[in-house]
Symmetry: C2
Subunit: 388 residues, 2 copies
């Protein structure tokens, strides 16, 4: 079950909500990534306390460990990990290619060696959907063939067409589920392939549409170009999800193009490496200059980390390898991301999203060239994208 409503719009940016069985998600939204049934170092109550509305689980990882039987005993991922809100699961497609040693790949799916115990495992659309049904995620993703970067046109086309076929089989395998299923637009860096991919997906019909295969090594401009061209073509009356992206600036850019949902490991991975996102830029907490810095990580932040601890303390924890450092930094960085999304939602309601775009150097020049500006205010503009 999924119902999407667009509540407000400013340019292509939209403020919406997604109604799911387990609650309502206010969009645009960022989803913290809980690979192995936990957002690293954090409990579900930590996630709730910083405003997480929906989290992401990894099908590939959970299938291999702890294995489906254990998840099934818990009646799904929610009870297993103690998170009562909505969960989106990826299909495992991306991980099969990035983490496993491939053995064979054909139309039926992918045979690979488990990176954990070396055993042979097969994953195809039917298997991925079966796993996601068992995880009982509120939003499942179709199994897709993740095109490597760079890819020649012919290679990208074959890969995209395979993904389209797998999307159809995923939809069929998903029949009978009460949860939602999203299609994934592939097609590498070729807008025409992307558009063909989208058309096939719309013909099949999904509860939402994602843009996949980005942030895989391509230059930022190329990624932005695809997002800018493709997003406005995704159906308006359904959620739009940009997979695996990205930096705070990427999120602002994505929203400006009409994206509703994001996920990325950046805030938590960077936290573990001592990179803290703040209102005045990145703080690399290991730096010696923070040794005696009594300010919180971010002076304009109200998160549990910034309310209680100094940069000097965080740096000390980092230097002595205290696991609490990764935890506090993860809380702070996720709070930063979730708070940014909340600011974005509020700004779209108040028609002041252009100010956040300015703040993050997402200038109108990144915009489809067809946008007409009235005066210097971006927010009264009607966008006519040449892709629609």
């Amino acid at each position: 079950m999924l119902h999407f409503s667009e509540l407000h719009r400013q340019g292509e940016a939209r403020r919406g909500q997604i109604l799911l069985k387990r609650g309502v998600i206010q969009t645009p939204i960022f989803m913290p990534v809980g690979t192995f049934g936990a957002v690293k170092t954090l409990e579900p109550r930590d996630l709730s306390s910083i405003g997480a509305q929906i989290i992401l689980g990894n099908t590939f990882h959970l299938f291999l460990r702890p294995g489906l039987d254990i998840i099934e005993l818990h009646q799904g991922l929610h009870r297993f990990m103690g998170w009562r809100g909505p969960i989106l699961t990826d299909s495992g497609g991306y991980q099969v290619f990035s983490l496993a040693k491939l053995r064979r790949m054909d139309e039926s799916g992918v045979l690979f060696r488990s990176p954990f115990d070396g055993s042979e495992v097969f994953l195809g659309p039917e298997e991925s959907i079966h796993i996601q049904k068992t995880l009982n995620s509120d939003i499942a993703m179709v199994f897709d063939d993740c095109t490597p970067y760079p890819a020649a046109w012919e290679q990208a086309k074959v890969s995209m067409e395979r993904s389209a076929g797998w999307a159809e089989r995923s939809k069929k395998a998903f029949e009978g589920s009460e949860n939602a299923l999203f299609g994934i637009v592939q097609g590498s860096m070729y807008p025409m392939l992307r558009e063909r991919s989208l058309k096939s997906l719309i013909d099949i019909g999904f509860d939402g549409y994602a843009i996949g295969g980005l942030s895989v090594g391509e230059p930022k401009d190329q990624m932005n170009d695809i997002v800018k061209r493709i997003t406005p073509q995704l159906p308006r009356n359904q959620p739009r999800y940009l997979m695996g992206v990205g930096t705070p600036q990427d999120l602002v850019y994505g929203v400006a193009c009409g994206i509703d949902m994001f996920d990325c490991v950046l805030p938590t991975r960077n936290a573990r490496n001592g990179w803290l996102y703040t209102s005045t830029g990145v703080v690399k907490i290991r730096n010696r200059k923070y040794r005696d810095d009594l300010r919180p990580a971010d002076e304009n932040c109200s998160c549990p980390c910034c309310s209680n601890f100094t940069r000097a303390y965080l740096r000390h924890l980092y230097k002595v390898n205290e696991p609490l450092c990764a935890r506090l930094s993860s809380i702070h960085n996720l709070h930063y991301y979730l708070n940014l999304m909340e600011r974005i939602r509020n700004s779209i309601e108040r028609r002041s999203f252009d100010r956040i775009m300015q703040e993050f150097d997402v200038s109108p020049t990144y915009w489809p060239s067809e946008i007409e500006f009235e005066g210097d205010s971006w927010n009264t503009v009607t966008i006519r994208s040449n892709n629609q």
Copy 2:
């Protein structure tokens, strides 16, 4: 400032309270160990939520990292680590011998190489007290010479006398502080040396008395023998602290002998190794039999770990090296220890502590042989120790 009141007594076991500048501590109490300015993986709010009243900080570690200047900038350890309750600091004596490479030791103190950067560092009574004054701990400990085990009588005697001299210098260096200072009884496994040590300390006069130099490799019976003989001789009107001990059974035994305060790394260290204390014994969470176990770690526990997660989930986290496992296990084990102390406190008030002794196999036979039992109830007995 420190004021101790004994509120209830059952045999030698006593239920008291310690009034400190930063709050009242209900005794008997267990103090979680926060070596580097953090109880590993936990925030102060976690400690409060499971009933921690006072925590322990390590002078040796904090002196070396982050260094005194950083602590001083925070006006002490409390603000540095964000813990508002009372803190006890050890003197660094034990760590100097167990962790550092000794360079020279004489009456003035100990010259050693920092295990972190190899630099030469000197620590004597004056230095230790200066550090503890800067840490601004509510309870400081005298700098002592920790006698290794085993030690011949003569070696133990020399070491004990050195500790006695250092205790006097510690007291003198502590003058002017508003906080409390405890003496430490040494003397290895020789009751007569222990008694002489105690006499010197009482002559100097402290706010409380600790038994040190135990749990250093000696057989349990020998440790128990020292605790049983020495504890009742410690002044009744002041707190008694058994340093670095121990297992849940050790705590029950110590309380039965008249101890008020304990600290130990066992609950947190064991947590990180996947050992969970439960009402039905130790659960080694890595064991395969917990793979599909839907029960909480302890079915009779109300801690945040047991309220939300199954053994199967904890085992999964352990197997995938998720840091959340150490955190949840630390919360559970510390809750177990703190809850045990609360049960002990309540039981002494209700004169039913003998039932907890039975539960932990601390039988009256461990008791000074002079104890007379009326019927089979231990709680009506007057103890006449041959040490008094």
